[in-house]
């Protein structure tokens, strides 16, 4: 067979390059990474809490939380231990050392341990702010929205998940009820993404302003999102908490459009003209 002969003779470098293999550095332990070292607590019990989150080990995280609660306050367990672990995970993900499943397992570990701390606290910890998330009416594709919700929760936001195939009216009602710092909408298809300008217009007509209406998904593009007020094109799900934090810090949707790459802290090809 020609394929086998060609495989023996061909110089693959002249045909393609697997850049992911070429750029891969040596394997290091997560705790030895320079960016992780910056956020990783040095003292116990916080280091153990953070490490359990970094390794995505829910059982260990719960155990560490139970044991830590004998010595420190529930809020410290969350803020000085678990949240630091999640910060480290975000840093590892941003640089390509961690992958999506790692983040999910870490988020699960954090959620499980946080429940233990909140039980002791007697209430849920105060969230940074509320975000409402939905998938456009007529659209059943929700993996993007689920990622957005996960990243928001892991970063200390209250994420109100309206689900998929959500009628515009339900979105408006949820915005009225929760007064979110950010609204997110996702859609896979060109004809379902038209829900976004409809929602934006309906909000404006009712005199409601949301600091940021982050929109993204398969067929959604920046020029479309920037064709209506409040819309900010969200490129990656993990950018969502950074956009919400920018809104919390007082940035408007107009500011966020202009400063997107700076806000998310990395090169974003879709916003190359605004780097």
């Amino acid at each position: 067979m020609a394929l086998l002969d060609w495989a023996k003779k061909a110089d693959f470098d002249m045909m393609f390059k697997r850049y992911n293999v070429i750029i891969e550095g040596p394997a290091i332990k997560p705790e030895d990474d320079a960016d992780v070292k910056k956020v990783l607590p040095k003292d116990e019990p916080f280091k153990s809490l953070a490490m359990a989150v970094i390794f995505g080990d829910a059982d260990k995280a719960v155990q560490a939380a139970k044991s830590a609660l004998d010595r420190v306050s529930p809020l410290d367990v969350i803020e000085k231990g678990l949240a630091k672990g999640m910060d480290a995970v975000s840093a590892l993900y941003a640089k390509g050392a961690y992958f999506l499943p790692d983040i999910m397992l870490s988020a699960d570990a954090m959620t499980a341990a946080m429940a233990v701390a909140e039980q002791k606290l007697g209430r849920a910890r105060e969230k940074k702010g509320t975000v409402v998330s939905f998938v456009a009416e007529g659209d059943p594709h929700d993996i993007g929205k689920n990622l957005v919700v996960m990243f928001l929760k892991a970063n200390g936001f209250e994420a109100v998940d309206l689900g998929r195939d959500v009628p515009d009216k339900e979105v408006i009602e949820a915005v009225k009820k929760h007064k979110p710092v950010m609204l997110t909408g996702t859609a896979l298809m060109t004809t379902t993404m038209t829900a976004f300008p409809r929602v934006a217009k309906a909000l404006q007509e009712q005199g409601i302003s949301v600091p940021v209406f982050g929109c993204g998904g398969g067929a959604v593009k920046r020029d479309f999102v920037e064709s209506y007020d409040m819309g900010v094109y969200g490129v990656k799900a993990f950018h969502a908490p950074k956009l919400a934090e920018a809104a919390l810090a007082g940035k408007s949707w107009k500011d966020i459009r202009k400063e997107y790459p700076k806000i998310v802290g990395e090169f974003v090809a879709e916003y190359a003209d605004r780097m």
Binding site: A2, L3, D139, T191
Partner: protein
């Protein structure tokens, strides 16, 4: 008809497979054949956003897409082409819209066929509107409307009906996000196969009453989700070896449509189609380098290898410098099909096939898996357990793993640590899974319903 499981391969040797030829060609009205010795170019265009606001505007949009494609076909001398229309929500949700839109396109294609003799096929791909947590996959309002719309499209003149069903997606998504290969196997291989049988038994029955072929289904919602999440070489959301395993599993699932009576040509975005063609001999549509308007993949040439209908996947309906997108992208697929047809006519088909394959065979593990000799191996693993939807999906993944490891060990395929680690880890998990479908199902049913709120076991008769 009942479900006919495949327990042997249609082709005795992978070298028998080549583009433009299928063991069981399909003839559709206006005299278009698929797999009968030539490759048919396909074009697919998504209606402009906003045209779905009324039936009238959408019908007009559909006619315009058909007119622009057909006129370019004549302008550049294409002997035949396929126009596929993937339904927007409204087109399937309102059966009368589905009818009117199909009729508008059928009238245009018939006019060109009558006037110029240009052979055209009209594919209608209904939307799978069903949502597990909103009435379930069986017997819900959404489900009933899909069936009605299929019938209306048949009545209006569709040449064939295709779909991208979503069965098993809630569990699959969970598996993708958490790197859980058992959930991926359960979602695509087990639940997906069950839902396919439900969906396609009905679709085949409806189509059989009309001059409309039940074409087939793609695991767009599963294996393509994995491919999309895996992304390019610098993607950091899913390992490309894991995406390849999901692809192998999806072949066992998408095969079910053919087992229910679907005839092909199988739908374009089913990258698993090479495996299914090897098993069944039905013609296939595929997409790759001329689908850059829709997405990036890492096997743009390879997917031409055994294609019968070459597609652009999807593009917005708008103007390019070269004209409206239905015209421009039919021209792109048309010239690629012309190259393949020239190779057939000059006796160079197998050489061109191998060039297409070799270009991408080691660019990425997904290409390694789908290179036709390897796809054939996965097909053989499937038919060895052909009667058991679970065991054959598991066998497909394990064979895919062997294919990738062999290429890696032969130093032909380079893998990152992440790709190699996930491949080894997932293979070990797959090997440890039970050899009885009932035990596997029970294990999964103890675990996933409590972890995944949107998973509705009743939708699968569980």
């Amino acid at each position: 008809m009942g479900v006919r499981r495949y327990t042997k391969m249609a082709y005795k040797d992978p070298d028998e497979m080549v583009f433009g030829h299928a063991k069981f060609p399909v003839l559709e009205h206006w005299n278009v054949q698929f797999g009968a010795g030539y490759v048919v170019p396909e074009v697919k265009v998504a209606p402009e956003a906003g045209t779905e606001r009324s039936k009238e505007t959408l019908v007009k949009e559909m006619a315009s897409i058909a007119e622009q494609a057909a006129s370019r076909a004549v302008d550049i001398g294409l002997p035949a082409f396929m126009l596929e229309q993937e339904h927007v929500f409204q087109q399937t949700y309102h059966p009368d819209w589905g009818y009117a839109c199909t009729l508008a396109q059928a009238e245009v294609l018939k006019k060109y066929y009558d006037e110029y003799g240009v052979r055209a096929a009209l594919r209608q791909t209904v939307g799978d509107l069903r949502i597990e947590e909103k009435g379930g996959l069986r017997g819900s309002e959404y489900d009933n409307r899909i069936a009605e719309t299929i019938e209306e499209c048949c009545k209006a003149g569709a040449s064939d009906i295709a779909a991208e069903t979503m069965g098993g997606k809630s569990v699959l998504d969970y598996g993708v996000m958490r790197g859980d290969i058992k959930a991926i196997l359960f979602g695509i291989g087990y639940l997906g196969s069950i839902d396919m049988e439900y969906f396609w038994t009905r679709a085949v029955n409806i189509c059989s009453k009309y001059d409309t072929r039940p074409a087939g289904d793609t695991n767009c919602s599963g294996a393509n989700t994995c491919m999309y999440v895996a992304g390019g070489l610098l993607g950091k959301d899913m390992s490309h070896t894991a995406a390849a395993l999901a692809r192998a599993i999806s072949a066992a699932r998408s095969l079910v449509a053919v087992e229910c009576g679907a005839t092909g040509p199988l739908k374009d975005c089913g990258y698993e189609n090479t495996i299914i063609k090897a098993i069944t001999g039905v013609p296939i549509c595929q997409e790759g380098k001329n689908a850059v308007c829709a997405h990036a993949d890492v096997m743009g040439n390879l997917t031409c290898q055994v294609v019968d209908c070459w597609s652009n996947e999807s593009v917005f309906h708008r103007e390019e410098m070269g004209g409206p997108t239905p015209a421009v992208w039919l021209q792109a697929t048309g010239y690629e099909a012309a190259l393949m047809n020239t190779a057939i006519q000059t006796g160079n088909a197998k050489t061109l096939r191998d060039l297409y394959t070799f270009t991408d065979m080691f660019r990425d593990p997904q290409g390694t898996l789908l290179a036709y000799p390897n796809a054939y191996r996965v097909g053989k693993a499937i038919v060895e357990y052909g009667k058991d939807i679970y065991l054959r999906a598991r066998a497909a993944a394990l064979e895919a793993s062997k294919v990738m490891m062999e290429a890696y060990e032969a130093k032909l395929l380079q893998l990152t640590r992440f790709e190699l680690d996930t491949l080894r880890k997932y293979t070990s998990i797959l090997e440890s899974l039970p050899m009885e479908a009932e035990i596997f199902r029970d294990q999964c049913m103890r675990e996933y319903p409590r972890k995944i709120p949107t998973f509705d076991p009743k939708s699968y008769g569980l």
